[in-house]
C-alpha cells in the first residue's frame, strides 16, 4: 500500500474556522509530521480522520478503507489528552482493550508499562501528563497497529520524555508496514524523526512532501534596512523590519538574484511556520 491515509478535498466549516477542501496523503512506511500553528486545523483534520467530527465534503481513506471503524484494530491513537476514565488503573485499561482488540497483546502492554515505569495499579488520575501519554502509547503499540495517529503527544512534556517517545516512533517505523502521522507544533521533534511533512495554515495545506525538500526550499535572509530591494519587497516571506535591519524567509530559487552582502542562513521548521504565518496575516 502506497498511502496509509488519503485525504481528498476534506471540508469542515465552523463559525470562526474553515477546513478548506484540503487534500494530502500520508505515505505508508514513514513518519509524517503534521505541522502548523495553533488553530490551523491540525486537530480538526485528525478528528475528521478518526470520525470524531463529521466532514461536510471530501473523502478520507485510512489504510485503503473508506470506513475508519473497520480498520480500527490497525490504528493506534494518542491524543493530546487522555481518553481513559481517570479512575481506571493501567490494568483496567488493559482489560478494556482486551475486550475490543482481537490482536491485543497483554504481555507487550505490561512490558511497555514496565519500560515506562508505570505501575499497573496506579490510577490514570495520579499519572503526570507525560505518563498518561505513555499509557496511550503503550495501548497504541500493543494491538499490532499498522498506523499510529498522534495529536500533539509531546506538548507539555520534558525533553527526556519527548526523546523517549520519538525513539519509540522511530522503532515503530522500523517495520516498513508501519506508518506514523504525528501532529505537533514542537517541530524540533519532527526535525529528528520525520520523513515527510504536511504543513497546514488557516485550514489550507501549504506544503506536503519530504521534510528535507521543505527545509531546502527556503533560506533565512538578514540585512540592513537599505538592502531591502525590489525582489525582497515582492518575494520575501514574512518580512520583519527592526530598527537595525530586517529578516525574512525567501524561496531558495531566488538566492542568486539577491545581493551577496546579505546574511543567508538555513531555516528550521519552526521558522518556516513563523514566517509563513506572518506572511499569511499580512
Amino acid at each position: 500500500m502506497k498511502n496509509a491515509i488519503e485525504i481528498n478535498e476534506l471540508t469542515k466549516h465552523y463559525t470562526d474556522f474553515t477546513l478548506n477542501s484540503i487534500s494530502f496523503n500520508v505515505q505508508a512506511g514513514y513518519i509524517t509530521g503534521f505541522i502548523g500553528p495553533n488553530g490551523s486545523g491540525k486537530t480538526t483534520t485528525l478528528k475528521a480522520i478518526l470520525g470524531m467530527i463529521h466532514s461536510e465534503g471530501g473523502s478520507i481513506k485510512v489504510l485503503g478503507d473508506d470506513n475508519t471503524l473497520i480498520t480500527n484494530s490497525e490504528i493506534g491513537i494518542v491524543m493530546d489528552s487522555s481518553f481513559f476514565v481517570e479512575d481506571w488503573t493501567a490494568e483496567d485499561v488493559g482489560k478494556v482493550m482486551q475486550l475490543f482488540y482481537l490482536n491485543w497483546d497483554s504481555k507487550q502492554f505490561s512490558d511497555y508499562l514496565m519500560r515506562f515505569n508505570i505501575g499497573a495499579t496506579k490510577k490514570i488520575r495520579d499519572l503526570s501528563r507525560g505518563m498518561k501519554v505513555k499509557v496511550m502509547l503503550a495501548t497504541a503499540l500493543s494491538h499490532d497497529a499498522k498506523l499510529l495517529l498522534l495529536d500533539e503527544p509531546t506538548s507539555g512534556l520534558d525533553p527526556v520524555a519527548r526523546e523517549e517517545i520519538c525513539e519509540l516512533l522511530s522503532e515503530f517505523v522500523g517495520d516498513e508496514s508501519h506508518s506514523v502521522f504525528f501532529s505537533t507544533h514542537i517541530t524540533s521533534d519532527l526535525e529528528r524523526i520525520a520523513d515527510y511533512i504536511v504543513f497546514i495554515l488557516n485550514g489550507r495545506i501549504l506544503y506536503q512532501g519530504t521534510k528535507d525538500e521543505l527545509l531546502e526550499s527556503y533560506r533565512l535572509v538578514r540585512g540592513g534596512l537599505n538592502e531591502i530591494d525590489q525582489i525582497l519587497q515582492e518575494h520575501a516571506i514574512g518580512l520583519r523590519r527592526f530598527p537595525t535591519g530586517f529578516e525574512a524567509m525567501i524561496p531558495v530559487t531566488l538566492l542568486d538574484s539577491l545581493s551577496s552582502d546579505l546574511l543567508i542562513e538555513s531555516v528550521d521548521l519552526d521558522q518556516i511556520i513563523v514566517f509563513m504565518n506572518k506572511e499569511e496575516r499580512r
Binding site: 478528528k47 478518526l50 470524531m52 463529521h54 484494530s73 481518553f83 478494556v96
Partner: protein, 222 residues
C-alpha cells in the same frame, strides 16, 4: 462475544470505581428509612430502583468528564452499538436493583414481622420497571443529544413531574369516581387486554426512544 455485550461490560467497567461499599450503605440506609416512614416493604423496591437510575446516568457523567466517546470510536464501536448497549445496560441495572429490592423487601418483612408475598413483590417490581424505564426513555435521548452536563436538569424533571402528575390525576379521577366506575370495572374484568396494551405502549415508547437516541448520537461530534 457480541460487540454490544462487550460494550455493556465496558459500561460496567466505567462505573466500577463508583460502585463502592459507602454507596451501598447509603442505599440500604435510605431504603430502610423510607420503609420506616411508609411501613410498606414495596417502597424498598422503588427506592433501590431509584438509586439504579443514578447508576444509569453514571456512564454518561463519567464518560463526558473523561472524553470516553472518543474511546468508543477508537475501539471501533459503532454509534448504534453504543446506544443499544447503553439501553441494555440501563435495563440490566433496573432489573438487578429491582431484584435486590425484592430481597431487601423480604428481609425487612422478616425483620419486622410483616407479611411477605413474592408474587405481589414481583408485580410491584414489574410496575416500577415500567415507570423507571419510561423515565430513562426520556432521559437517554437527552444525554445522547446534549451530553450529561447540559441535559442533567431536564433529564431529572420526570422525577418531579411524574409524582406531581400522579397526585393531580388521583384528584382528577377521584372527582370523576362515579363516571369512571364502568371503565374501572371493565379494566378489572379484562386484565390481560390491559396488560397487553400497556406492554405494547411501553415497547413502542422504548423503540421510539432508542431510535431518537441513535439519530441524536449519530450527529454528535466529540
Amino acid at each position: 462475544m457480541n460487540t454490544t455485550l462487550r460494550f455493556i461490560i465496558l459500561d460496567f467497567l466505567t462505573i466500577k470505581p463508583y460502585v463502592t461499599v459507602k454507596n451501598l450503605i447509603i442505599f440500604i440506609a435510605a431504603s430502610l428509612f423510607i420503609y420506616y416512614g411508609t411501613q410498606t416493604s414495596y417502597t424498598v423496591i422503588g427506592t433501590m430502583m431509584g438509586f439504579g437510575s443514578l447508576y444509569v446516568s453514571y456512564p454518561f457523567a463519567v464518560g463526558e468528564k473523561n472524553g470516553i466517546d472518543a474511546l468508543y470510536l477508537f475501539l471501533g464501536i459503532r454509534r448504534k452499538t453504543v446506544v443499544m448497549g447503553r439501553y441494555l445496560y440501563a435495563f440490566i441495572i433496573d432489573i438487578g436493583l429491582g431484584l435486590v429490592g425484592i430481597l431487601m423487601s423480604a428481609g425487612v418483612s422478616f425483620l419486622f414481622g410483616k407479611e411477605y408475598s413474592l408474587p405481589e413483590n414481583l408485580i410491584v417490581m414489574g410496575a416500577m420497571l415500567m415507570i423507571f424505564t419510561l423515565i430513562q426513555c426520556f432521559q437517554l435521548p437527552l444525554y445522547f443529544k446534549l451530553g450529561y452536563t447540559k441535559s442533567k436538569f431536564s433529564a431529572y424533571l420526570p422525577f418531579l413531574v411524574i409524582p406531581a402528575l400522579i397526585i393531580i390525576m388521583g384528584q382528577f379521577f377521584g372527582n370523576l369516581k362515579n363516571q369512571l366506575t364502568p371503565i374501572v370495572t371493565w379494566i378489572v374484568t379484562h386484565p390481560y387486554i390491559i396488560i397487553g396494551f400497556v406492554i405494547i405502549v411501553w415497547l413502542c415508547i422504548i423503540m421510539t426512544s432508542v431510535l431518537l437516541s441513535v439519530r441524536y448520537y449519530e450527529k454528535r461530534e466529540f
